[in-house]
């Protein structure tokens, strides 16, 4: 894995939804253009230094491949980085980024003929927006249906852009807004009021059933929404291998039922062996950083997969594991940022 950070300059910034979100477009340094390629849905691991303190974040790239490199960051109350981006980061400033990565990716194909259903909520639109554009641009025989949940009309990120896409591609893109607390006087009525729930999902599929029969389902929203959307789809007998999802924000399903015990961790990092003590309740990543090791990591919420490692000995508990599929977990894959020790000796190998 390429873990090097590169300096990117903010080329353009734009306020979204009245300043509650900010889109940043970056200039890619000369010579790195071929490296900063991404697949629709992937994210950008970033390192910020704010007031002398280092912070790492992963933000989804909100443009399709071929368009300018752009992220869209929604303001989180009390969030260090989201408020820094919204209030302080200016055009011409630089931030540090690793190359784009992520398994939540839609690879369009000229000859692919698919029906894509996208289920999103809030800022979960960012990867979906990139994917929908990629389908409309680069997968000419396929169609896309978006079911997009928000609080009210004012909080719909990319509302105009999505409206323009549906007007430009009437036979290929349908757009359904679902608003949980719509204000009656602001905007034309949404497709539905309420949430993106099982009934809403079944209604959308029944209204626009698949024509192209290679059907794919893409979900991006808060953890609870992802979970309920996935179980609603499974309830309709959608096979799990057609469902792709990514969580964002702090609301991912976190299993803190296991606190974790103090342990000795034998770590192999870049081929070198280290012995690290892990305190009770401390994650393996925290322990490694405290011991002065420099493992790769980014989002620290179990979403991005930057900190993936292999467990060779012992047992750990993962609080979240969105970035791993069941097969990887069965093969010993762990996310160090989410893992606490369950046995007093563990051995871990990092790539």
């Amino acid at each position: 894995m390429n873990t090097e950070f590169h300096n990117l300059t903010v080329a353009e910034r734009r306020e979204e939804i009245g300043g509650d979100a900010t889109s940043l477009t970056f200039a890619i340094p000369a010579g790195l253009e071929t490296h900063f390629q991404w697949q629709a849905g992937q994210h950008l691991p970033l390192r910020f230094v704010v007031d002398g303190q280092e912070h790492r974040r992963c933000y989804t790239i909100s443009n399709p491949p071929g368009a300018p490199l752009r992220i869209t960051v929604k303001r989180v109350t009390g969030g260090v980085i989201s408020n820094y981006v919204a209030d302080r980061l200016a055009v011409g400033d630089t931030i540090e980024a690793q190359l784009p990565l992520g398994r939540f990716a839609l690879k369009p194909g000229n000859m692919k003929r698919r029906t894509h259903y996208f289920f999103g909520a809030g800022s979960g639109i960012t990867p979906l927006f990139s994917m929908i554009n990629a389908v409309l641009l680069s997968e000419p025989h396929s169609v896309a249906h978006l079911i997009y949940g928000n609080k009210n009309a004012k909080s719909i990120i990319f509302r105009e852009e999505l409206g323009a896409l549906s007007a430009a591609h009437p036979g290929r893109f349908t757009l359904r807004h679902v608003l949980s607390s719509p204000s009656v006087w602001t905007w034309s009525s949404p497709w539905r009021n309420g949430r993106v729930d099982a009934e809403t999902i079944a209604a959308a599929i029944t209204e626009t059933p698949p024509v192209a029969q290679d059907v794919q389902y893409w979900i991006c929203g808060p953890g609870e929404m992802n979970k309920s959307t996935r179980s609603a789809l499974l309830g309709l007998d959608v096979p799990d291998n057609r469902i792709h999802l990514e969580s964002f924000g702090g609301a991912a399903t976190i299993d803190t039922s296991v606190e974790g015990i103090a342990a000795t961790a034998f770590i192999t990092l870049n081929g070198a062996a280290h012995t690290v003590s892990v305190a009770s309740g401390q994650t393996i990543l925290e322990a490694m950083l405290a011991a002065g090791l420099m493992p790769n990591f980014s989002c620290q919420s179990g979403v991005c997969g930057s900190c993936k490692a292999n467990l060779k000995k012992g047992r750990v508990h993962m609080r979240a594991q969105m970035a791993l599929d069941d097969q990887e977990v069965a093969a010993g894959g762990i996310l160090t940022c989410q893992s606490v020790a369950e046995t007093d000796t563990i051995a871990i190998e990092l790539p």
Partner: protein, 388 residues
């Protein structure tokens, strides 16, 4: 010396050996028409269709997605699969009640503990998947679960097939029929795409279109054809159409493509018709016709019938009348273009077994005939090369 029928040996139209090769190399290796999308309208509905050597089963799940499997129970191979149960979530073979889920996984073997004391490794006995897709309102199946997409297969010819949106039209059930022609399937295709014969065999039946202005060509193995209405018909076209329009003005004409292999469409201003050709034997072919018309009220149909009555009352007639007709059953006296075509195909097939048969030079308007023969040869060669 091999006797030839243009590009193909005569035996390609008469021998069981050729028939078997075509079944294996063409009809079992291509996307096969399996019906109209509305034949499987709701979750739990299913159909099965013969596609060359394969019988393929299509079922819709509650997610409204179609699944296709080879209709072969993994127990004894019985072609009996059906969808059952209140939730239509299970596929079962009634012979011994082996049951599969909608992804084809074997989920239940009755009396497993007594009948199979060592158990059955269910994951080894799932239904074999096939491909299914919907295009222009039609269902297509392919025996290969990883078949190239319909976009790859029909993408190039698609823009030449007319502005019809078949999925928005309504089937006219009275026009649905099937019949057999005592001729090789290629004879039937060649008749369908022979531009030369239109003004002759059908001189009294299809002259509302101007065959002299026909535009036709090929995209891969697929043939496309369009011709404008005749001067007489188009003078008052909107009035003369027998039923309400199925395509918006100003589109006019007849689109009559022949998609490979043997999938004929005949679409005009006011109807959309399918002509599906299925080989049954070297000298026997099944035709299935289905027609879709505008989704319009009975009143709209009535109005159009009245307005077009003046044009159609004096239109058409028998090619041969009176003393020229052999008898009252002479197909050439039928005044029906399908009857004329069937007669021509069957009489053509008969001569192929004569030791004195020798084919004459093809006309310009018969270039599609010889091109189709080449398409058959090329496709079979490509498949054989891929096999070896």
């Amino acid at each position: 010396m091999t006797r030839m029928y243009h590009n193909l040996p005569v035996e390609a139209y008469t021998s069981q050996g050729w028939f078997d090769r075509e079944q294996r190399l063409i009809f079992s290796q291509t996307w096969r028409f399996a019906g109209l999308a509305e034949d499987v309208p709701e979750p739990g509905h299913y159909v099965s269709v013969q596609a060359g050597l394969n019988n393929i089963f299509i079922v819709m799940g509650r997610d409204h997605r179609l699944r296709a499997f080879h209709n072969i129970c993994r127990h004894r191979g019985t072609q009996l699969i059906r969808a059952v149960g209140k939730t239509q979530k299970a596929l079962t073979c009634p012979y011994h009640d082996w049951t599969y889920d909608l992804e084809g996984n074997l989920i239940s073997v009755p009396d497993e503990s007594t009948e199979y004391p060592n158990g059955v490794d269910k994951k080894c006995f799932g239904l074999k998947p096939a491909s299914v897709d919907v295009w222009r309102g039609m269902l297509f199946v392919h025996p290969d679960p990883d078949a190239p997409s319909l976009a790859a297969w029909f993408g190039d010819v698609d823009p030449h097939l007319g502005p019809h949106k078949a999925e928005e039209l309504v089937e006219y059930p009275e026009a649905r029929n099937a019949y057999e022609i005592k001729a090789n399937w290629k004879i039937v295709v060649e008749n369908y795409i022979d531009v030369y014969h239109l003004s002759h065999l059908h001189s009294k039946t299809l002259y509302m279109y101007d065959h002299g202005k026909a535009e036709y060509g090929w995209k891969g193995p697929h043939y496309h054809f369009w011709e404008p209405p005749s001067a007489e018909y188009s003078e008052n076209l909107e009035k003369n159409l027998p039923t309400p329009r199925v395509i918006p003005e100003p589109h006019v004409g007849a689109w009559v493509p022949m998609l490979f292999p043997g999938i004929g469409i005949g679409a005009g201003e006011d109807s959309w018709n399918l002509f599906i050709i299925t080989p049954l034997a070297p000298d026997l072919t099944r035709i299935e016709n289905r027609t879709k018309l505008a989704n319009a009220s009975q009143w709209e149909f009535q109005k159009q019938e009245w307005s077009s009555w003046g044009f159609w009352k004096g239109f058409g007639g028998a090619k041969y009348e009176g003393k020229d007709a052999m008898n009252e059953n002479d197909p050439m006296a039928s005044g029906d273009f399908t009857t004329e075509d069937i007669y021509a195909c069957e009489q053509q097939q008969k001569s192929l077994t004569s030791p004195y048969f020798e084919v004459g030079p093809p006309a310009n308007g018969e270039s599609p005939v010889t091109r189709h023969q080449q398409a058959v040869l090329d496709f079979m060669t490509a498949q054989e090369t891929a096999e070896n």
